[in-house]
């Protein structure tokens, strides 16, 4: 089942008790779902087993190696909710060349559609929070140690060059 993967900041979503009855905080929406040209940047993977590929795409495009949180969205659910997405490799910032095509944009977003996506994320929190393992539909925290492992594997496989990474990331890799 194809999935869209997006980075979020877990602490912003947990400002309120969203798994209970409280509303999502404005910080969560404005910081984690900040759109540009009514689009939201995501990474598409074919199955749950490929979620790590999206994580690699995200962390290899950054300035610093820091723990991140990610969520997944079921593409079929999006289609049935009338929310579209298109491939956009040009906007991809990953340093792993073979992952550039995995970059997509959720398009034509409106106030209402952003609310639907917000609900997808709340549903992920309701389904559970996990650390350093990839399960579809849950909120995944990736620690620095875990991310180092993913990046080192990509370097060993020749998919990523250590020298292409910013100094701050290179210093953290053995």
């Amino acid at each position: 089942m194809p999935l869209l993967v997006r980075k979020i900041d877990k602490a912003k979503w947990l400002q309120n008790d969203i798994t209970g009855s409280e509303d999502v905080s404005a910080d969560a929406i404005t910081i984690c779902l900040k759109t540009s040209d009514n689009k939201l940047s995501v990474w598409k993977v074919s199955t749950e087993t490929d979620i790590e590929e999206a994580i690699l795409a995200i962390v290899s495009g950054g300035d610093h190696l820091e723990a991140i949180d990610i969520i997944t969205i079921d593409c079929q659910r999006m289609a049935s909710d009338g929310i579209g997405f298109t491939q956009n490799p040009e906007k991809s910032v990953t340093r792993v060349q073979d992952l550039k095509d995995a970059h997509y944009d959720i398009t034509d977003l409106s106030y209402g559609k952003l609310g639907v996506i917000s609900q997808y994320i709340v549903d992920c929190f309701k389904k559970g929070q996990i650390i350093n393992s990839c399960k579809e539909g849950q909120v995944i925290r990736c620690t620095e140690g875990y991310l180092k492992g993913i990046m080192l594997e990509a370097i060993e496989d020749g998919r990523l060059k250590k020298e292409d990474l910013p100094d701050s990331i290179q210093k953290k890799l053995p």
Binding site: A11, I31, V59, G62, H64, L65, A67, T143, G145
Partner: protein, 210 residues
Amino acid sequence: MPSLFSQIDSSTSHDSPNQELLSLLIDTEHVDSAQPILSSLLDFIRSGTARISIVDENYINEKRLLRLQSQFTPRLVNLILESEFEYGIDSQVDVFIRNQMKENALAAKHWINDIFVSNFQNPVILVGILHIMSRLSYYEVFPEGQLMAAAALVHSNVEVQECGVRAFESWATLESLTILNNVRVATPWLQEYIKEVVKDLSREQNAPVG
């Protein structure tokens, strides 16, 4: 190495209330070319059109700190309030602080620490400062960075606590491991995160924890 020696009457200095002779000792391989320059410099000072100050490193740091406090505190606070901090991504504040650290790290750390303490009731400022400090190396920010991160661990705001954990995770030293291994927080997801970071650091430092 050959030396040039000269003395200046300290009454030309506005920092020295007592008249004394200041000794100048200049070591150089190029005595011949240095001699006329030194003579010109001394003539210039004696002419009364220049003032010299006796300064030490404390004076330099204090002067820098005062400048940071008076000119840059409002700018830093506004930058933090207006910036979007995203994990993994540089912000304007990172660039600003890195520049200040390059100019005088001692004064900059002292200055940031003052802002941290005086804004302890403001989680947004604390989160911003911890984001930046965690991206600098352990030794660059020592000891103020570590003290700020440790104080963050006991803050009432969970996000501030998390930033404290993230800072120690990022520095990834044996001290980070010791501190995190002895931290207990009330928020289950944060305690789980700490547990996982302790595992990572324990493996990296080859230091088993109980």
